[in-house]
Symmetry: C2
């Protein structure tokens, strides 16, 4: 039969990353494309022990239905964690456990936006979030990035001219895909603009704990005086991506609606995963664990940058991230990131993501690619970058 | 600040069941309100062992990102299971793993419906699905139930007169909330009507395996000749509700879109839960396990019915389900289900769900309540029904 596909879903294409992920599964391909944490940083032995304990001691809680907002002890432990590490939980805020941080974007957009309402994003930005906002038929407006984050002048211009702006979507720390960190000044300025134009902010901070260089900066949420900032966090990069546990901080009034939306979506998040996170947060030394991860990523990022410095032609530029998982490469003028990525995987069996995947609007001829340094071994990084460099020389 | 809530979410109230669930948590309340399976039917020891094995033997697969459509070995095992037990998997069909069956409704509605498109439902129907369809601003049209399922004449009338009908939502086996099973004749007739009026069917079958009386009937999906039926299944009632694993069967062409929607929603379902389900399906005797559950539910349902037969006034009527978890009570004329449920919990500490919660449109003065027989002990069933009867006599 002929299927009627909704206007919101019909134009969406599968995420280029998710597609490449299928491809990157073959053993002879080096993937610098994904967004996985380094497997060796995951506390596998702890996960085994804690999961066994949870199933032994709390089987009824794990195996039956629970509350949509999440397992209460986990919610409380997360509130403590955020207060202690990020110092921003306000009295008027509440916290909900989500099925990965992706669900934070899904629920926030569903609750705040009618079709054709405007969402303002950094451009480029994380494709998973962009596609999520698109899947609600929103009007996506991209604001270019500068070295210290979103372009303030263009942001204000958009706030002035666009209709029904519901929120500004930001990844202030080690942004995906660029690796850029928003400066303290800009964090304050963006919050002030949001206040001036009375719009909300959705702050996505999946990599916030993974700073391996420079000084910690306060979250935008920490400036929040009037419940204007919704905050999305994740266990993906410190515990496991596969378990799918994230969390959303929002003012209570809004949370009531987010909870209804969560009920309609998946009732609640998987309890094995929630109780595992709870035990990990409360029974292990999470600060020491995070310190360990930082050391690994400092090394991997440093190695990748060194290889690029040594091997890439001078006409290639790239960001030098202070944390997170990604760096952003700008190819020489006239070179196309899509063509480069295609040739790279076909001729050299190295996967990277073409920058156009992260563009808010179609971006033919984008000169960018995104590289991931977290999930490869040292050897793979060296071989991968050597092959990247080889193709660059071939194409120049 | 003043929050802008989207038109689709603003009118939604929290699910009455989810709210009662919060309340039913106290130890001195007998809950006949929830939808949990009997805890004693869950294979807790197997779940412990299999989860430990998965984390021991497949830790990388469990802890890192995976494919949005689900873990391939689980998808294959489910296809085998459905072919073997329900005999309906078609060549053109594909299967996706979802975060509980609730997500099947979410993704199907998102992919098929624009705002104000029509979804036809049995009336009453499962509140979680109704709220999900509402959360996409659809035009919900309810068709009354008869003893053998949906009213065919009124269904055809709706198909003739309503605009942009995208699908008919059905729970053919032991429907939630009524416990009614659709007859074979009606299953065929509904499929024929869907074909005649060229609309799709979303067949929700969470309780299909739990028939403890009468003969198995083929799924509506088994009549599907042209990819018109999307099928939702679940591990909730046979393995665990808390792990949140369901699955969706749909024609490949539609599945491509459902997979994009899944990417936008939660990337993929929690891998610990998926791999546990895979091992349980492939390494344990699921047929024997299901037989065991049926025996428990036959007993519990029989006990509840016997207590009701013995104690309820003759002016109270109720369904006698052949499977599933619920039965549906019609109170004497002039009695209100909402008032009854409120007095029951306040005066007698017994929770039931007022029937109005399951109505497609507001239903003031609904005479119904839903009773769950699966999750209480024999003693709780006897005490609970005794108190129900006492209040009935008080109110008559």
């Amino acid at each position: 039969m002929q299927y009627h596909i909704s206007d919101k879903i019909a134009p969406l294409k599968p995420s280029a990353i998710r597609e490449i992920f299928k491809y990157a599964g073959s053993n002879d391909v080096i993937s610098l494309a994904g967004g996985n944490p380094a497997f060796e940083t995951l506390p596998v032995e702890d996960i085994r022990k804690l999961t066994a304990e949870v199933l032994e001691q709390e089987s009824k809680t794990v195996l039956l239905y629970s509350q949509s907002a999440g397992h209460i002890p986990l919610r409380n432990a997360l509130k403590d964690y955020l207060s202690r590490r990020h110092g921003f939980l306000k009295e008027y805020d509440d916290l909900m456990v989500t099925t990965g941080a992706q669900q934070c974007m899904d629920l926030t957009c569903k609750v705040l936006c009618n079709e054709r309402d405007t969402v303002i994003c950094e451009d480029p930005s994380f494709i998973g979030s962009l596609n999520c906002f698109r899947s609600y038929n929103t009007n996506l407006v991209g604001i270019p990035m500068e070295e210290d984050g979103i372009h303030l002048g263009k942001l204000e211009e958009a706030l002035k001219t666009e209709k029904n702006v519901r929120f500004i979507y930001l990844i202030p720390n080690f942004q995906n895909p660029t690796g850029i960190t928003m400066s303290l000044e800009k964090r304050k300025a963006v919050y002030a603009l949001a206040k001036q134009y009375d719009v909300m902010i959705l702050e996505d901070n999946p990599y916030g704990d993974l700073r391996f260089e420079g000084e910690e900066l306060p979250c935008v949420k920490s400036f929040d005086e009037d419940g204007r900032v919704v905050y999305a966090g994740s266990f993906s990069k410190i515990l496991s991506t596969g378990i799918r546990v994230g969390y959303l901080v929002a003012p209570q009034e809004l949370m009531a609606k987010l909870e209804v939306a969560k009920q309609c979506t998946d009732v609640h998040t998987s309890m094995i995963a929630q109780l595992l996170c709870h035990r990990f947060l409360t029974e292990r030394d999470i600060d020491a664990h995070i310190s360990g991860i930082k050391g690994v990523y400092a090394h991997k990022c440093g190695l990748m940058l060194k290889e690029m410095d040594d091997r890439f032609p001078k006409s290639v530029t790239y960001t030098r991230p202070q944390g997170g998982l990604f760096l952003w490469v700008t190819l020489p003028e006239g070179m196309d990131g899509g063509e480069y990525a295609t040739r790279l995987v076909k001729e050299h069996k190295v996967c990277v993501v073409p920058g156009s995947a992260f563009s808010v609007k179609e971006a033919p001829g984008s000169r960018n690619i995104r590289l991931n340094f977290s999930s490869s071994t040292d050897e793979e990084i060296i071989t991968g970058i050597t092959k990247c460099a080889q193709l660059l020389k071939d194409m120049l």
